[in-house]
Chain length 419, copies 2
C-alpha cells in the first residue's frame, strides 16, 4: 500500500466530447467517495482553462441522481477545451492553483494532446517537489491512443455509425434501382477507425450487405478505382453505400478534401469528403444519383444509440484512475486490456503518460481486405464486443433527459490570471 496522501481531487475533461466521457467522471466521483484520504472532489470547468482560471466546482455536492445520470449524458458535463498550455508561466500557474486548492490527485480524461498536457503538469510537480498524483483517463472516439486495447468513446461512435448504416440501408434498398449512391461522411482525422466501424453493419455471412465501400485514410485514394468499385457494386446491388472518413488521403499523402484552416494544435481541419465523392460519381457515372449525409458532431453525442459496454468501460477507467492514484501511481494513463479468453473480458492497466502523449495508433493494415474497401474478420472480432448492449437513456415527454450539474463554485484562493 502506498503512503497515504491527504488532499483534494481535481478531475477534468479535454478535447472533443464523446458519448461516454461523462461516465468516466461518474467513475472518478463514485470511487473517490470511498477513500478517506480524499477530502474534496472538484471538477475543473473547461479542462486546463478552468485550472488557469481557478474555475472549479464541487462535485461531491451534486446529487447522486445527477452523478448517476452522467452515464447516459453525452457531451462533457464539466466543459472541455482545446486550449494548449503555451508557455512555462501557464504550467507554473497550474501548480500554483493546485497548491492553493490542495489538489493532490489530478485526473484528466482526454486524447493524445490532453495526456501530453497531463504528463507535463506531472513532471513539473515532480521537479518542484510538490506531491501530486496524475492519472490520465483515455477518451477519444478516434480510438487512436497507443498501448490501450481501445478507447472509451469508440464503441459508442461505431455503434451509432453501424446502426445508421443499417437503418439507411433499409431506405436505400427500397429506393434504389441500381442508380443510387449514398455517401456517409464520418469523423476520423488520422486513422480510419470510425469508418472501419461501419463494417459492423454487415450481417454475419452477408458480405454483400452495406456498406459496400469503406474509404480509409490508410488506403491511398484513387478516383479511378473508386468509380470502378461503385460501378461494380451498382451492377450487383440496388444501391451502393459508401462510408468515408474525413481524412481521405491520396497517393501523394495529401488530403483529398481539406479546408485550409488548422486547429489550435496545427491539425488540418477537414470536411467535404462526401461532397467531393458525390461530384466524382455524378460526373463519371451517367444517370446515377448520389446522396450525402454527414453525421458531424451528432455521431459522438448519439447516446440513444450508445454502447452499454463502452459506457461501463468509461466508468471503469474513471474508477481505475482513482484506485491507481490511491495506490501511489502517478504520471500514468489507465489502459484497457483485453483478456485472452474466447469470450470478451476487459481489465484495466497503466501505461506511462509519455508513451501515450502525441502517439497515434493506426488501424492495422492487415485488418483491411485486399480490395482496400472492406474490413476482414480480424477487425470484426476486435470491434464487435465494443458495441454490445444498449445504453439505457431515460426519456421524458418523448425526448432523452440529460444530467445538468448544479456547478457549485469552489472559492478562489488566487488573483485572476491573464491568459
Amino acid at each position: 500500500m502506498a503512503e497515504e496522501l491527504l488532499g483534494n481531487v481535481l478531475v477534468g475533461q479535454s478535447g472533443g466530447p464523446t458519448a461516454v466521457i461523462n461516465s468516466s467522471i461518474e467513475g472518478v466521483v463514485a470511487e473517490a467517495l470511498n477513500h478517506d484520504c480524499i477530502e474534496e472532489i472538484y471538477g475543473t470547468l473547461n479542462g486546463v482553462l478552468g485550472i488557469l482560471n481557478e474555475d472549479f466546482i464541487d462535485l461531491a455536492s451534486e446529487s447522486q441522481q445527477t452523478i448517476r445520470a452522467l452515464r447516459s449524458t453525452p457531451g462533457a458535463a464539466l466543459g472541455t477545451c482545446r486550449y494548449k498550455l503555451k508557455k512555462q508561466e501557464d504550467y507554473e500557474r497550474v501548480l500554483e492553483v493546485f497548491k492553493a486548492q490542495n489538489i493532490r490527485y489530478f485526473f484528466y480524461a482526454g486524447g493524445n494532446d490532453s495526456q501530453d498536457t497531463a504528463d507535463k503538469i506531472s513532471k513539473l510537480a515532480q521537479e518542484q517537489g510538490y506531491e501530486l498524483r496524475v492519472i490520465g483517463i483515455p477518451k477519444t472516439i478516434d480510438n487512436d491512443l497507443p498501448v490501450t486495447d481501445h478507447c472509451p468513446g469508440y464503441g459508442s461512435v461505431i455503434k451509432h455509425v453501424a446502426t445508421t448504416v443499417r437503418q439507411m440501408a433499409c431506405d436505400h434498398e427500397a429506393m434504389g434501382q441500381g442508380d443510387l449512391v449514398s455517401i456517409l461522411e464520418v469523423m476520423g482525422r488520422n486513422a480510419g477507425w470510425i469508418a472501419a466501424g461501419a463494417s459492423l453493419a454487415k450481417r454475419r455471412d452477408h458480405p454483400h450487405d452495406p456498406p459496400h465501400i469503406i474509404l480509409l485514410p490508410e488506403v491511398a485514394f484513387s478516383a479511378e478505382k473508386f468509380i470502378a468499385d461503385v460501378q461494380r457494386v451498382l451492377k450487383r446491388e440496388k444501391h451502393c453505400f459508401v462510408v468515408v472518413g474525413e481524412g481521405l488521403i491520396d497517393a501523394d499523402g495529401n488530403y483529398v478534401a481539406a479546408a485550409e484552416a488548422t486547429d489550435a494544435f496545427g491539425h488540418a481541419q477537414l470536411g467535404g469528403a462526401a461532397e467531393f465523392l458525390q461530384g466524382l460519381v455524378e460526373a463519371n457515372i451517367p444517370a446515377v444519383k448520389a446522396r450525402t449525409a454527414k453525421l458531424g458532431i451528432a455521431q459522438r453525442a448519439a447516446v440513444t444509440n450508445g454502447s452499454k459496454t463502452d459506457a461501463d468501460e468509461a466508468f471503469l477507467a474513471g474508477q481505475a484512475a482513482v484506485l491507481a492514484a490511491i495506490n501511489g501511481e502517478t504520471d500514468k494513463m489507465v489502459t484497457l486490456l483485453r483478456g485472452e479468453a474466447d469470450h470478451y473480458t476487459v481489465e484495466t492497466g497503466l501505461a506511462p503518460l509519455a508513451d501515450i502523449a502525441n502517439g497515434v495508433k493506426k488501424l492495422p493494415k492487415e485488418w483491411i481486405n485486399e480490395d482496400g474497401i472492406s474490413m476482414n474478420y480480424q477487425f470484426v472480432r476486435f470491434a464487435t464486443p465494443l458495441i454490445q448492449g444498449e445504453t439505457a437513456v431515460p426519456h421524458e415527454n418523448g425526448l432523452p433527459v440529460f444530467a445538468k450539474l448544479d456547478k457549485v463554485r469552489v472559492q478562489r484562493q488566487l488573483e485572476s490570471y491573464e491568459l
Copy 2:
C-alpha cells in the same frame, strides 16, 4: 354494411420511405386477415412499377414474426418508387393487371403524388365499370398532406431531429466559448415542418435552450438578419445552434441553395443550405467556427429514435384503410383526426383522394414567433403528442435487426410490359 366484394388485396408503398411506413403495411395485413371476402393479400414491389411489371409478392405467406417486425423496420419493405404513370397506356396496364390478378382492394401508402396516382387509377376503374376500392394511406415525413391533422412518418422524424439537437447541444455546450456555430440541415422541401420540429428539443420554460435559430421556408431568408441573430445568440450563449431546412427561400421566392437538378416530378433537388450558412458565418463573424451536419436519409430511417405514437398511428391508418374498403368506401385517403379533449386522442377519418392529391399543407404562419426563427406554444402543443413513446427495436449482437420479407412471388398472368 356495404355489398360484399370478393377478391384480392394489393398494397403498395410509394415515394420516400419513413420510419413507420412499414407499420402501415403491418396494419393492412393484420386487418385484411380478418375478412373472409379478402382472398389473397399481395404486395406490389416498388409501387406502381411493380403493378406495371405485375411484380407482386404474397404477403399472407410471410411469417407472423416478420410482419410484426415491420413495426420497427425503417425503409419500405415492399420497395418504393418515384415513377410517375405517364401515359394513358400506363393506366390501362394497371387496370389490366388488376383484372388479371383479381385485385379488388388497392391500398397505397404515400404522399401527395402517390395519392394523385391512386386517385387516377380509381377514376379509370370507375369509368371502365371495374369494381375496385382504392384507399390511400397517408405517409410523409414532410407532414404536408392537406385535410389530415398530421401524417404518419412526421412524428418519428421530428423525434429524431429533436433528439439529435438535444444530444449535440450537450457537446456544443461543452465545447463552445461563445465562438461556436453549429448548423444542422434537415429535410423539408416545401414546408418547414421538420425544421420546426427541432424546437421540441427546448425544455419547457427554457426558451434559450437550443435550437437558437430555426430557418424555415415560410420566412424569407435575409443574410443580414441571420448574421445579426447569430451574433446576438453568441453574446448570450456558449454556442449558437441553427437548424435549417433544405428549402430555404429568399425574399424573391428563390431557393437559397438549390442545385440545378429536378426529380421525376419536376421538383427542384435541394441541398447545401448548411454549407451556404457556414460560409456566411465564417465570412461575416471573425474568430467564429461554424460546423455543419446533414442528417440526409438517416433522419427518415432513424427508427432507434422513433416515436411509438407515430408507429402505432401508421398501423392504425393501415387498418382503417382496409376497414373503409370493406365498408364500401373508395377513392378516399385515411386521415388522422385529433380529438378535442385536453389529452391527446386520435381517430381516423376519410377524405376524397382528389382533395389530397397535389395539395400542400403549409406550416401555419401564426405558429411562428415574431422573431421569425422560433416556434410558439401552438406548434409545441400540436407536435409534442406525436413524439411520445419510444419504438421498441430488437437488437442482436449490438445492432438493430430488421424484418426482411421472404418475397414469395405471385405468378404472372400477363405478358411483360414495355415501360
